[in-house]
């Protein structure tokens, strides 16, 4: 099939253009901040200047007197605690008595314009009693007597997970080669181009609507109703077009509660748009982790044991932290077979902006540590880095050491592609001084069997309705956060119903109108929402075919607006009319994704247990300036097994975006804090994310393993392809100049220090 005809058809596998692409490019797309209503107020949040303090008193009277101020809000007006995970409700929209990081929300002002609201903030008087602040996971561990967050049962531990699979110590004792090192991952954040924004409005009947730049409208719906004490049926959450999220918009946030409460208080629409600085305080980015990793290989180069002790710096609130503590250990057990495995991961509360899920939630850090450690161990045995990964391949239709079921697995193919494309055999270890190649592999989930709150209802739902005109309307709860699910829904409708994908309306992420989907996280959307959509469309296709067969005969084919049978063809619209007549009622159908029972039979065994796993391999090429430590990643070949590319253009986009983000974390991204716990430079000038000029050439290579359970064989592509970037770069720098980087980011000064500490003869890694 040629590229252009695929493009026109827009069914599964086509390079169909993103349905919201044009609006994003030409400015006509409507983001949350583009919404405006008559009499709308603008609100601003007052934030704590202390990393840790008791609030003794809040006085808003002077702010209220400022002309143009319409209302103020303090925590006591909605003190209920919330959080995305029901077991760790530990946040308040506005702190009532305890602030836990610099930037924690304390009060809110609604005014006629933003500037007046900002001026009013300076008139609010808050009396604080400062408390000692705990600014690292180590400090939080050392000082259980200082409580960052009362939710912690023991000291400052959000969650500790200890699991052991097989006799790890025995395997280590008999290993042929061992790496035992400490790896450190700096925290990083998502930096989506669109800052968080929310708008609330209350109608004449007392129904509340909140538009929010969220990737979890359903959880926002639940938490809003709970915290505001409203019946959920009176609350509607709508997610407009979104300008990037990457996990940074998958918690309920203070601004959503504040606009809602202020709209209820004033009877006027209210908007809050975060400044860029506030986006940094909202954070929920990648956790800093310190990982003491042991990797043991037997004489044949097989991984006989992996042991990982992980200390996680969580920040002031739990967010998804309970899951983070699990993912950090549970998601490492592929694409290689581990003989034995043990991890002990501890997430600590600290007095910093809360960490959460960032693309590749929980598993990017341990993956970096492990893939570098594996390289180090293989080198001791003189095994080529690609060979050691091939030799340890876990296979298809197998169970991992921690009881996860792997179905399709295209990892070997991924390795083969990057090996060939990079010219590995001819070039690895032979590029001359200061240049090198490195490899790494990884595995990631396509959703998880663990619903965030326990329930028996489907995790994702879709309703499809057919109109007499031939227009198809898909009502889907799923959040398109740029990954392109709305486009895929059009393609699935085209594939199943034979309609023109351009004649599909997608109504998405509106809790009044669309069935529930849990949200855009854990790479679950295409898999789960895709299956739900296919189920709904299949039901309708059966009705269409039955009705059309009267006219065109049996053995019907549905394709791009035409219904063809042995006795002729009719248009898609005609088929809809026949089917509606036959039904005697409007045509619609629903589909759902029902959670499967998966995972190991132990506490936490379902967390990280996925209906299908994606696999990735990268080879990175670097150049290191040995006099200055300045290095550059020039090219990354990334092969990703996404099961089936429902839309190759979207898959390539996800691979490229992931590689970019991973390479960024290796190069320069870090949330740096001063002694007081103040985030250093919360702006896109001081917090460095690479520009296009700092980005390597990316070769996005698609591998299709056709998963038996995914929609049309598809798995995920949004997060997995990030993982190998960082270790592949670290391993490439080793190939280039013989140093081992174990701490992120790989700042030039760190590189230079290691270069200077080299012993003679260590300048280059010896080619295997």
């Amino acid at each position: 099939m040629s590229r252009s005809s695929h493009h026109e058809r827009g069914d599964i596998g086509a390079r169909f253009p993103k349905v919201d692409g044009a609006g994003k490019a030409d400015g006509s797309g409507v983001y949350t901040d583009d919404l405006a209503f008559p009499r709308m107020l603008h609100a601003k949040l007052l934030r704590s200047p202390h990393a840790h303090a008791r609030i003794l008193n809040i006085d808003v009277s002077a702010a209220e007197r400022l002309p143009g101020v319409i209302a103020t809000l303090v925590g006591a007006e909605m003190p209920a605690k919330y959080g995305v995970i029901p077991w760790t409700h530990d946040e308040q929209a506005l702190a009532t008595d305890h602030v836990r990081f610099i930037g924690d929300e304390v009060a809110c002002v609604a005014a006629l314009d933003e500037r007046t609201a900002e001026e009013a903030l300076r008139l609010i008087r808050v009396d604080y009693e400062p408390l000692p602040a705990l600014l690292s996971a180590e400090e939080a561990l050392a000082h259980p007597e200082i409580k960052v967050n009362e939710k912690a049962k023991v000291g400052n531990i959000t969650k500790e997970v200890k699991l052991e699979f097989g006799p790890v110590d025995e395997a280590i004792a008999t290993a042929a080669a061992i790496t035992r090192e400490r790896y450190q991952y700096a925290g990083s954040t998502h930096a989506p181009i669109e800052p968080h924004c929310a708008v609330a409005r209350v109608d004449g009947d007392g129904n509340l609507t909140v538009w929010s730049s969220t990737q979890i409208p359903h959880y926002v719906h639940r938490e809003l109703a709970r915290v505001l004490g409203l019946p959920p049926a009176r609350v509607r959450v709508i997610q407009p077009l979104l300008g990037g999220a990457f996990g940074g918009k998958s918690d309920p946030f203070s601004l959503e509660f504040c606009v809602a409460k202020l709209a209820l208080k004033t009877g006027r629409p209210v908007k809050i748009l975060f400044t860029r600085e506030e986006v940094f305080y909202a954070h929920r980015g990648r956790h800093p982790m310190a990982m003491d990793v042991t990797v043991a290989l037997d004489a044949g180069g097989r991984i006989s044991a992996v042991d990982n002790k992980i200390l996680i710096d969580g920040g002031a609130y739990a967010s998804f932290g309970l899951v983070t503590a699990y993912y950090a250990g549970q998601l490492l057990t592929g694409p290689y077979r581990f003989g034995t495995y043990r991890f002990d991961s501890k997430r600590m509360y600290t007095n910093k902006p809360p960490c959460g899920p960032k693309r590749g939630h929980g598993s990017v850090q341990p993956r970096f540590a492990f893939e570098v450690a594996l390289d180090e161990a293989a080198e001791k045995l003189g095994i080529d880095p690609i060979e050691v990964r091939r030799r340890n391949f876990i296979g298809e239709d197998v169970e991992t050491v921690n009881g996860q079921r792997i179905t399709s697995n295209g990892f070997l193919k991924c390795l083969e592609l990057v090996e060939q494309a990079s010219g590995w055999k001819e070039r690895h270890g032979k590029l001359g001084p200061g240049r090198g190649l490195g490899v790494a592999g990884s595995m990631y989930i396509s959703g998880t069997a663990y619903p965030v709150y326990p329930n028996e209802m489907p995790q994702s739902g879709v309703l499809v309705k057919l109109d007499r005109s031939g227009r198809v309307a898909v009502f889907s709860g799923a959040s398109d956060i740029g990954q392109g699910v709305n486009t895929l829904l059009c393609q699935i409708a085209a594939e199943e119903l034979g309609c023109d994908p351009r004649e599909v309306t997608v109504v998405a992420a509106d809790t009044d109108l669309t069935p529930v989907d849990m949200g855009a996280y854990s790479s679950r959307v295409t898999f789960m929402n895709g299956l739900a959509a296919r189920e709904a469309c299949e039901k309708l296709a059966r009705k269409l075919k039955a009705a059309a067969s009267v006219r065109v005969g049996d053995e019907i084919e549905l394709e791009l607006g035409t219904v063809r049978g042995p006795r002729g063809s009719i248009s898609f619209a005609e088929a809809c009319q026949l089917a509606e007549a036959a039904e005697g009622a409007p045509l619609s159908a629903t589909g759902g994704y029902r959670t499967q029972k998966l995972g190991g039979n132990y506490r936490g065994g379902t967390i990280g247990a996925s209906p299908a796993y994606s696999f990735t391999a990268h080879v990175a090429e670097v150049e290191v300036d040995e006099e200055t430590g300045i290095w550059k990643v020039t090219r990354i070949w990334a092969a990703h097994d996404c099961g089936k590319a429902l839309n190759p253009t979207l898959v390539e986009g996800q691979i490229e975006g992931s590689v970019y983000m991973g390479a960024a974390e290796a190069q320069m991204e870090e949330m740096v804090y001063g002694k007081q716990g103040l985030l250093f430079g919360p702006s896109l000038l001081d917090y460095k994310i690479p520009t296009s000029l700092d980005t390597p050439l990316i070769d996005a290579l698609i591998v299709e393993s056709h998963d038996p359970n995914g929609p049309y064989g598809a798995k995920e592509a949004g997060e997995g392809p990030l993982h190998p970037a960082i270790p592949a770069i670290a391993n490439a720098i080793h190939d280039a100049c013989g140093i081992r980087l174990r701490e992120l980011p790989f700042y030039p000064q760190r590189v230079l220090q290691l270069l200077q500490a080299r012993v003679p003869g260590q300048e280059r890694r010896t080619a295997c």
Partner: protein, 331 residues
Amino acid sequence: MLTLPRLQLHRPGSVREAVELLASKPNARVLAGGTDIVPNLKHGIYETEHLIALRGLSSELRYVRRDGGRDGDSIRLGALCTIDQLSKDPDVLQSLPALADACRQIAGPQLRKMGTLGGNLCLDTRCVYINQSYFWRSALGFCLKKDGTACHVVAQGLRCVAAASNDTAPVLLALGASVRIVGPRGERVVPLADFYLHDGIHNTVLEPDELLVEAAVPLPAARLKQAFFKLRTRAAIDYSAINLAVALAVSPAGLVTALRLCVSALAARPALINRLQDLVGQPADLHLAEELGRRAQKQCKPLTNIGVDPAYRREILPVLVRRTVLRAIAS
């Protein structure tokens, strides 16, 4: 979004009108391209109610001109030339290639189209502790430069050492440029080497009611071997973590006859490296380049005012100088 303070915008149509406005409006400030002053206003760094926008002076102050003056030929650059324009101007490319190179590396494409030469030369000094929001600065504790009494860079420091961060300054200093200034008391020409002061709060000799209207480079510059280098984390957008410019004249025998080296993004005053006279007469070679690296390192003390490790910046400075000097020699 961060909001601007309440301001009145004035739009003079001539240099004379602009200077009158500056003199009559209390605490008035000049707005050229606005790429520096607007973020600073949003951060609450200035107490001002009046902005004097220079756009209406474009026909007067946007030019690249060669002419013969008292001291021989020179190239004159109007203060409202945009950075983008200077990076592409044929005369600049030919006679002042290091300046074009510096301009190409300033900020990003959009900012270069807005930003002006005058704004760059008068760019406010920068410090990681001052170029932040009011909230952030309040949480840290305000500093000498605005609202506070202490310095976070130099403990017990009595003078602000925020860093000169403009990339055209070191090149124009190395090329021996001067600037023309117009004020209510008339006009004056100041060598760029005397234009900057050691004070991060106000690092130029400009009076509040004066306008910088032109930079002039004596044209022997066109015959100088020159090069610019900028160290930064990212290949675009970022301000310099160190910038340096070198200009040298070399005799047909390959001996240095004149030499200037400027290293900036250190503290408030972009300054030439001192005491290089003894190198005149030496061969322009690797040895010279290394010697310049050593001297620069001795005279330069990077500080924590910039978010790139000062010890590292100091450590690699000799390498950067050596390479830049060699590039100039080879040019």
